[in-house]
């Protein structure tokens, strides 16, 4: 494997791991900090100052930033399937930490997501065009 391809692959995996875990724990803290009842618009604002909700929001900011970095070199059609492993981890976190009931139908959907992730990551490159070509295509489409 050429050094440039290896570097890109390593960078993609490291960034994808940050994207997935910040998404999983961000959503987990958001869910666990949300009260069952929010009546007024002010309630929606004050709930943001709860420590667990704030932590969830901060992790989701990290998720957005890391995903933007990942999208700067990897294809959208690669990033979305690969990071969707987060849905699987969110379901597991919901089951283990929040004691949610996951029906066999949901587990089947989760298994299908995992199969899709394996299909996309197995041997495909995160980038089908060079960064130069991507920038030209994006600026050309805007004109």
């Amino acid at each position: 494997m050429p050094p440039e391809t290896a570097r890109l692959r390593w960078k993609t995996w490291a960034c994808a791991a940050v994207v997935v875990f910040s998404n999983v724990f961000g959503n987990f803290f958001l869910k666990s900090g949300m009260p069952a009842q929010l009546d007024t618009a002010l309630d929606y604002i004050t709930v943001l100052f709860r420590p667990t909700v704030s932590l969830g929001v901060l992790l989701l900011i990290l998720w957005l930033a890391s995903r933007m970095a990942l999208l700067s070199w990897a294809d959208l059609s690669y990033v979305l399937p690969v990071t969707s492993i987060g849905y699987v981890l969110v379901a597991i976190a919901g089951r283990v930490l929040l004691h949610e009931q996951i029906t066999p139908r949901r587990w089947t959907g989760i298994a299908l997501i995992m199969a899709g992730v394996a299909l996309v990551t197995g041997g495909t490159s995160p980038q089908t065009t060079t960064t130069q070509e991507q920038a030209e295509a994006a600026s050309g489409a805007q004109r």
């Binding site: 957005l64 933007m68 700067s72 070199w73 009931q101 960064t131 920038a135």
Partner: protein, 73 residues
Amino acid sequence: MKWLLIGIIVAATTAGEVLQAKGMRQHGEIHDFRPGALGRVLSVLARNWLVTASVAAMAVSFSPISDCSRWPS
């Protein structure tokens, strides 16, 4: 109401994804992850309308998600 909120989440998320991918593609690969360099990247991205529109779309999708977080599992 539930399906309306889900529809808003799906539409806003899809718009956000596509705009963000296009904006970041326009920016090019991020090589330097030191804090100063990331700050410079952020200031460049803040002036890219595709990226700002994508963040707005993500914010639109976030509020129904907060609401859905209160639904029983």
